[in-house]
């Protein structure tokens, strides 16, 4: 009975992973096919949610936090703000075929997949990524930093300057996006109006 419940949980996790990947594929296909831009924005929010679920399934809790907060929250609203400044429908594509392009894409994809056969197994303790500095972090964190989460210790203490640089980058990007979307005016929001007849831009 004990053996049965363990394999049932593993089978259920595998089934959940496969269904999440299938849903991701369906959402991505519909995003490419749809010409209605608001639908694409909502679907990109749903895509970020599915990615966050997949990260939870892979035990990467911190990445799932970031993906849920940034991808499904802020990104959706910012893309919506950008979309409201332009049009509602995308122009239809010209029908045309590019066989060379598709061939190149297939060849590069096949080469990459062939290269992944040489990679070490997932979570292998002797892999180079986990053996040298990673092992040092795992061994030294309880004594030196004493924070239970090793990822937090690496981000905030061992590689603190890196985090400082990232914070500056994200702040600059946020300010730039806000200015582009028109939050810099006093009344808030930019009225998208045309130039009037006598050539002066109206406010």
């Amino acid at each position: 009975m004990e053996n049965d419940t363990v394999t049932l949980a593993e089978a259920a996790t595998l089934a959940i992973d496969l269904s999440l990947l299938t849903l991701l594929f369906l959402v991505a296909y519909q995003m490419l096919k749809s010409r209605h831009l608001f639908a694409v924005v909502m679907l990109s929010g749903i895509y970020s949610l599915l990615s966050a679920l997949f990260f939870v399934s892979l035990d990467a809790v911190d990445v799932a936090f970031t993906e849920a907060a940034v991808g499904a929250g802020i990104s959706t609203v910012l893309m919506l703000a950008g979309m409201l400044l332009t049009a509602r429908r995308e122009k239809p594509l010209m029908p045309g075929r590019a066989p060379v392009a598709i061939l190149v894409v297939f060849l590069v994809g096949a080469a990459l997949m062939y290269a992944t056969l040489d990679m070490p197994a997932f979570g292998d303790a002797t892999a180079p990524a986990n053996a040298y500095v990673g092992l040092q972090y795992i061994e030294r964190t309880p004594n030196e930093i004493a924070v239970p989460n090793i990822v937090t210790a690496v981000l905030a203490s061992y590689r603190g300057f890196d985090t400082l640089g990232e914070t500056m980058v994200i702040f600059t990007a946020g300010v730039a996006v806000m200015l582009l979307l028109g939050a810099g005016s006093i009344k808030g929001g930019r009225q998208v109006k045309d130039v009037s007849d006598d050539g002066e831009a109206q406010q």
């Binding site: 369906l26 679907l43 749903i46 399934s57 035990d59 799932a64 609203v77 703000a81």
Partner: protein, 101 residues
């Protein structure tokens, strides 16, 4: 065992909500499908935490429940007022998006 059944039911419900998000004729159908999908994601994170024996994933579920609500309200506010900073004196005249149907 029951967690596997609950996870399967939530994934089927997510697939059906996706069908509505693909095919909704008005954009409010799509907003509704997105909101519904977000609530089901919260439930699925909780159930997946129990399924793998680590209920500590509930932190993400708490975070996502908060973000889902704020995002849906922000999207609707954008479609009504076309800006996120609405001053209190012209709040009665909504500048809604006529092409939004």
């Amino acid at each position: 065992m029951i967690f596997a059944v609950a996870a399967a039911a939530v994934i089927i419900a997510m697939l059906l909500a996706l069908v509505r998000a693909f095919a909704g004729p008005t954009l409010y159908d799509r907003v509704l499908a997105g909101n519904s999908f977000g609530t089901k994601t919260v439930i699925l994170i909780g159930v997946m935490g129990y399924l793998t024996g680590r209920p500590d994933f509930l932190d993400i579920a708490v975070l996502y429940a908060l973000i889902n609500f704020a995002t849906i309200i922000a999207i609707l506010k954008f479609f009504r007022y076309r800006t996120l900073s609405v001053s209190m004196d012209n709040r009665d005249q909504p500048v809604f998006d006529e092409e939004a149907r």
